[in-house]
């Protein structure tokens, strides 16, 4: 079970969830991906589309950086 991180705080639509999807597809079952993203469009769409596609969103937490959140997704 491996842990990976992806920082998409500088990305805009559609690359936010496109990059997330590409990273998730490289993972094996049980692997976890931590995604750092910004409030607004990414925070709305990334966790929801991950759940819709059968991934498990383990947590959505605020980080110390203003406006940046961490979403933990398990395959």
């Amino acid at each position: 079970m491996a842990n990976y991180t992806l920082d998409i705080t500088k990305e805009h639509c559609p690359m936010t969830f496109v990059k997330t999807k590409i990273e998730l597809s490289k993972l094996k079952t049980g692997d976890v991906l931590e995604v750092l993203l910004t409030e607004g469009e990414p925070l709305e769409n990334v966790p929801r589309s991950a759940t819709e596609q059968g991934f498990k969103v383990l947590s959505v937490t605020k980080t110390e950086t203003e406006g940046v959140h961490k979403v933990t997704i398990e395959k």
């Binding site: 559609p14 999807k21 819709e52 596609q53």
Partner: protein
């Protein structure tokens, strides 16, 4: 956990786009929609026809490819992705350069990045048989990701049950 990228249930999420215009801005729209949809689990089909065929040629840059004199002439005019014009206010070709610069500066994906993402996401690329014949091209002239050369009937069958856009 579901590992396939395509989840088929009674509500299949499918998007098919006919890419007719070879313009830079319209191609950007095609690939933004395609990659965005694929990233949220849609099955995506792209059908390139007429000017759209320019976007999927292997040989980038202006070169006289195609069978016959007239197709070769157009081959020189149609230089692939890098020389795709903007649909308005092209200013003799400066605008695509300006837009690429603005996109890079604002960290928005450029057309080339979107095309690469589309390949990684397993989006289906198809070429239009009719347009191919007119322009004297064949399957080998296109990027390897082009799954097949299709006609209208096959494309419509593929697009059945999903949404279809003409760009």
């Amino acid at each position: 956990m579901a590992t396939p990228d395509i989840k088929l249930d009674s509500n299949t999420k499918k998007l098919s786009i006919i890419s007719f215009s070879g313009d830079f801005d319209k191609l950007t729209a095609v690939f933004t929609l395609a990659t965005g949809a694929a990233a949220v689990g849609y099955e995506v089909n792209l059908f390139f026809t007429f000017w759209g065929l320019d976007a999927i040629k292997i040989k980038q840059g202006r070169s006289p490819i195609g069978k016959g004199f007239l197709p070769k002439v157009f081959g020189v005019f149609m230089g692939g992705l890098k020389s795709a014009p903007v649909s308005r206010l092209n200013f003799a070709g400066i605008s695509p350069k300006i837009f690429r610069y603005l996109m890079r500066k604002n960290n928005v994906a450029t057309l080339e990045e979107l095309v690469e993402a589309a390949k990684i996401l397993g989006i289906n690329f198809y070429a239009c048989e009719m347009a191919m014949h007119v322009l004297g091209l064949n399957k080998e002239d296109f990027i390897p990701e082009v799954k097949d050369v299709l006609g209208v009937a096959t494309f419509l069958k593929l697009a059945e049950g999903g949404q279809t856009l003409f760009i």
